[in-house]
Amino acid sequence: MRLSDQLRVAGIGIRSRRLRAALSALGIAIGTAAIVAVLGLSASSQAGLLAQIDRLGTNLLTANTGESLTGGAAQLPTAAPQRISHLPDVEQVAHVAAIDDANVYRSPLIPAVNTNALKVRAASLDLPGVLGTGVAQGRWLNAATERQPVTVLGALAARRLGIDRVHPGERIWLKNQWFYVAGILKPATLSTDIDTSVLIGYPAAEHYLGYAAIERGEAVAGPPTTVYVRARTDKVDSVRDVLARTANPESPGDVDVSRPSDALTARAAAKGAFNSLFLGLGVVALVVGAVGVANIMIISVLERRSEIGLRRALGATRGHIRTQFLSEAVMLALLGGVTGVAAGALTTAVYAGGKGWAVVVPAEAWAGGIGAAIAIGAIAGLLPALRAARLSPTEALRTL
């Protein structure tokens, strides 16, 4: 008997009882849909985050003051940014200096303890460019305003201070003096420290807050506490290797070097880990679906005993009968599997599309869904098919 004939004969049962076939395939459809959607959505959200990281750039490195060997806070030399910018594969350098003893308030009337966990930082003028962020409102510091009591707020800092718009004359109370708010930054995903910062110029930090280092008997602006470095994308590792030594040749061990995108990538990987609850529900639905298919197949074999007897009389072998019912079960399950994969992929597409993520339905999700359906059909159909094949022709024909 030809394969095409085998399939045609196997399809008769499904075609002649469409509603019943659809209902019994439903469980498997729901199961595969859930599994494909869960895998698809986690892959898509991961792809979304990775795309965002890619846009921000994976070539950003930071050099931070770490703990010194003696236990106290170490310091970066004021010349560190300068030296780093001379490295061959470094494209851009910016830096900030966290000023420890300066708190910020909306007005002098606010109790001193309500610091909002904000940090005043002196920033080099190229900071937004290097971090891949920009001002949401107002303007960034420039050569003139970096010398004046003028500040630009990080996105979160602005919110905590209750400043959502930059009005002319808007000001904040910073270490017992007024600073004018020139702008508000967009969120800096690569360096969330900046989001909670109140940024001022280095000269202003020296002049108004007395933040300075003494070098050869002279006060100079600085020192920085974090240096941001954009390296050539293919040379990030080699720059990273020499960064600590370049920043602080005397004690490179005091310098913490990190790559912010690494942390984000780790977070993306965690996001890619799927929701095991829904996955479990999908598996349960699959099992229920399998039982449904097995049940329907047993009923089908009972109902069609005379057909089995007739086919045997017409020349069908036991093998033909077995194949017929086994294929019917597999087709039924496959019907559910394909529908489920389509529904799961559609769900993923709609949700990911709405979030602006790339739509990713991993091959193991859809291929696995269809493969699982075939396996379930085969397992669920095996017993009924064996029973049908075992029936002797006379026995089968006697039922009416």
């Binding site: 008997m1 030809r2 057909e307 086919r311 045997r312 069908a316 072998t317 036991r318 022709p393």
Partner: protein, 234 residues
């Protein structure tokens, strides 16, 4: 032409169940030669259907030997038996066993794939078989749209579509009025004239009387075989 033995039964018994055992056949021996037309008669429950099923390899005897074309059926595999049924035996069942899910033509062609016929050939042969039973124009109908006699003719068309050497018919006229029944028997006679060996179970004594050979079954035994009385003849 020397007629060969197509079917041979030797002391065939069939017992169903154990408590109490039902002896459907109690030692049946006879021979059917190629090209014979045989009527099997006997009261209800005498074992006629059991006999026909065993002749058609649908059932195995409890003891005794069945030979088809000289081959001992007991020695053949399921696959080989199925092949014999597909190529050499045509069944007509009293209850038709037509499926409502497909057309008359597809019903007739249903068994052909098991014999390995290609799709185009199958349609052609099914149409031809329907033509022989006078139903060519109803090929596209559903069986439920036909009368009882027409359905029986469809079942006969299905039995002869594979051009079997042996046709086994179990009360093909049972549900029909005598006129229609006679036309069905006429059809079987034509087939027989074409060379097929035919065995027909019937309750109708008048119909049976017109057959060249009659086997009378009673209580699981052959009590009368008209071929064993050479003087009576046809």
């Amino acid at each position: 032409m020397i007629a060969t033995n197509v079917l041979e039964l030797e002391r065939v018994t069939k017992t169903y169940g154990t408590r109490p055992p039902v002896h459907a056949l109690r030692g049946v021996s006879f021979t059917v030669r190629s090209g014979e037309l045989v009527a099997i008669v006997g009261p209800s429950g005498s074992g006629k259907s059991t006999l026909l099923h065993i002749l058609g390899t649908l059932d195995r005897p409890s003891s005794g030997t069945v030979r088809i074309d000289g081959q001992d059926v007991a020695a053949l595999s399921d696959r080989r038996l199925a092949e014999i049924r597909a190529r050499s035996i045509g069944f007509v069942f009293q209850q038709f066993f037509l499926t409502e899910r497909t057309t008359v033509l597809e019903n007739v062609a249903d068994g052909l794939p098991y014999g390995g016929a290609a799709p185009a050939e199958r349609r052609e042969r099914a149409a031809e078989a329907l033509g022989r039973v006078g139903l060519r124009d109803r090929a596209g109908s559903r069986p439920s749209e036909l009368s009882g006699g027409q359905r029986q003719r469809v079942a006969i068309a299905r039995a002869l579509v594979g051009r079997p050497a042996i046709v086994l018919a179990d009360e093909p006229t049972g549900n029909l009025d005598s006129g229609t029944g006679a036309s069905i028997i006429e059809l079987l006679r034509e087939l027989n004239a074409g060379g097929a060996t035919i065995l027909v179970i019937t309750h109708d004594g008048d119909l049976a009387a017109r057959f060249p050979r009659r086997l009378h079954v009673l209580d699981g035994r052959i009590v009368d075989d008209s071929a064993a009385r050479p003087l009576e003849g046809v």
